[in-house]
């Protein structure tokens, strides 16, 4: 999809206007209204704009070395993007680390393009740097739409990451004693009217893992999984998780491997 920049802006403005309506609908507590709206948007998920943006960024020569990311190895060989997201996180021999899509994209920016990625890691959400990273993750995830999740755990470091992620999931702390499990550890629970997936189950993990990055109608923003996790940690009253850190990769490994066999539906759309 190649959206004319002006058409893209118009669509975004339209979506922003409509999403204000959604906020009102929600305060009227008509969750059905949101569902209908979500249905209507399925034909034209604004996430496609970010996907297109990400594709452009992926293919454009950039950084001090002025090369594109097209030869980036996302785990299925240099240059293979199709299906890669569905197999992540995974172990990479060159970094000797388990990486998710987002931390791997950082690696490629550093090694292929010579970019100083610290600036990207430190930048706040909604900064131009993070916008780029989210668009790239959205593009990469879109290339796995319809592919079955198959996070392997054959490498000992992948296995260790899964166990660390599980432990993090149940780790309580902060003034509210919250862990991920407080909000995502029971079947059919909600916070206010928001349904919470029961993440330790295959169905719950699949609901969460296969639908992000997602366009959030309520905020008019495109969020990657890293951003989703950062906002849940915020609600948990925890400090801010560092972008691409092992904490975030471990939780992703736990979710992805628990979701194994489900079908990627990315980029997603959320309330």
């Amino acid at each position: 999809m190649t959206a004319h920049p002006r058409a893209g802006l118009a669509t975004l403005l339209l979506v922003a206007a409509v999403s204000a309506g959604v906020a009102r609908a929600e305060s009227d507590a008509t969750i059905e209204g949101i569902e209908k709206y979500r249905e209507a948007l399925r034909d034209g998920n604004p996430a496609e704009l970010f996907e297109a943006q990400g594709e452009e960024l992926w293919k454009k020569p950039a950084g001090p070395k002025s090369v594109s990311l097209e030869t980036c190895d996302l785990g299925m060989g240099p240059g293979v993007v199709a299906g890669a997201y569905a197999h992540l996180p995974r172990y990479f021999a060159d970094t000797d680390k388990v990486q998710d899509a987002e931390s791997r994209i950082l690696t490629c920016m550093a090694t292929l393009q010579g970019v100083d990625v610290k600036k990207y890691v430190d930048a706040r959400w909604t900064s131009p740097e993070k916008d780029e990273l989210v668009a790239l993750a959205t593009y990469v995830s879109g290339q796995s739409k319809g592919v079955k999740v198959a996070a392997s755990a054959t490498h000992p470091k992948e296995r260790a990451m899964f166990d660390l992620g599980k432990r993090m999931f149940y780790f309580q702390g902060g003034p509210h004693d919250f862990s991920c499990a407080t909000c995502h550890g029971q079947e059919g629970a909600r916070i206010r009217l928001q349904d919470l997936p029961n993440i330790p189950t295959q169905k719950g993990a699949a609901a969460g893992w296969t639908s992000w990055p997602a366009y959030r109608v309520s905020s008019g923003q495109m969020w990657s999984m890293q951003w989703r996790l950062a906002d849940c940690f915020r609600q948990q009253r925890f400090p801010e998780p560092i972008y691409g850190s092992d904490v975030t990769v471990a939780l992703s490994m736990f979710m992805a491997a628990t979701a194994n066999g489900a079908t990627m539906d990315t980029p997603g759309i959320k309330r």
């Binding site: 899964f162 003034p175 499990a181 206010r192 009253r237 801010e240 560092i242 628990t258």
Partner: protein, 213 residues
């Protein structure tokens, strides 16, 4: 021949079965690989706004409750009872002996989920988050279901000394009656102050509160 067939059938079965994430459960909880976990915590977070890294330091209750399999095990009953006793002993009772405040103020506190996140300010008045998890006033239809419905709570419990005390202890420090309750320890952890807890008490127990109408 029959053996061969059986082997073929067996291996077909084995390969057709959906691959589990892992062959077997490995050790993962507290005590499994503490060094790796500590290193992950240390490298994984940064301070933001009012939220410092000390949020990651657990007290005894939090540490105990971070492994649901161990903390729910039969042989953990004694440890659970000890945690409940310690939390009950830490409950601060109303300084003037009055348990009930203003239910209208209580409703506002129950509605608010604000406070103590990295995007909140230090001088923010914290909310109780109650509607995030409980149905309370029937008129509010946007309520969560992590906790039980509290509609009619006061009608059910009355205002006996015992009802006042158990409800106060529950809100002030939920772990005083259930070691690993999902409910925050609002008073104990300084989320809410004494007057706010009194107002919530009135919301739940005052016969004139909409909760009991």
């Amino acid at each position: 021949m029959t053996t061969n067939l059986r082997i073929a059938a067996l291996s077909a079965l084995l390969f057709a079965a959906p691959l589990p994430a892992f062959a077997a459960e490995s050790a993962w909880g507290p005590g499994a690989d503490d060094a790796a976990f500590e290193a992950m915590l240390k490298s994984g977070f940064r301070e933001k706004g009012i939220v410092k890294l000390d949020r990651l330091k657990q007290d005894a209750t939090q540490a105990f409750c971070s492994d649901p399999i161990k903390s729910n095990a039969k042989d953990a009953a004694k440890a659970r009872a000890e945690i409940e006793a310690a939390n009950l002993a830490a409950v601060k009772w109303p300084s003037d002996g009055k348990f009930l405040g203003d239910f209208k103020a209580g409703e506002k506190i129950a509605q608010s989920g604000r406070g103590l996140t990295s995007t909140d300010k230090a001088d923010q008045v914290n909310g109780g988050n109650c509607y995030n998890c409980h149905q309370i006033d029937k008129a509010e239809i946007s309520y969560g279901t992590i906790g039980p419905s509290l509609v009619g709570y006061g009608k059910l419990k009355g205002t006996s000394e015992e009802a006042l005390k158990t409800t106060w202890a529950r809100i002030w420090n939920s772990k005083s009656s259930n070691a690993c309750s999902n409910m925050p320890r609002a008073g104990h952890m300084g989320i809410l102050g004494e007057q706010q807890v009194k107002d919530l008490m009135a919301l739940l127990l005052d016969p004139n509160s909409p909760v009991n109408k």
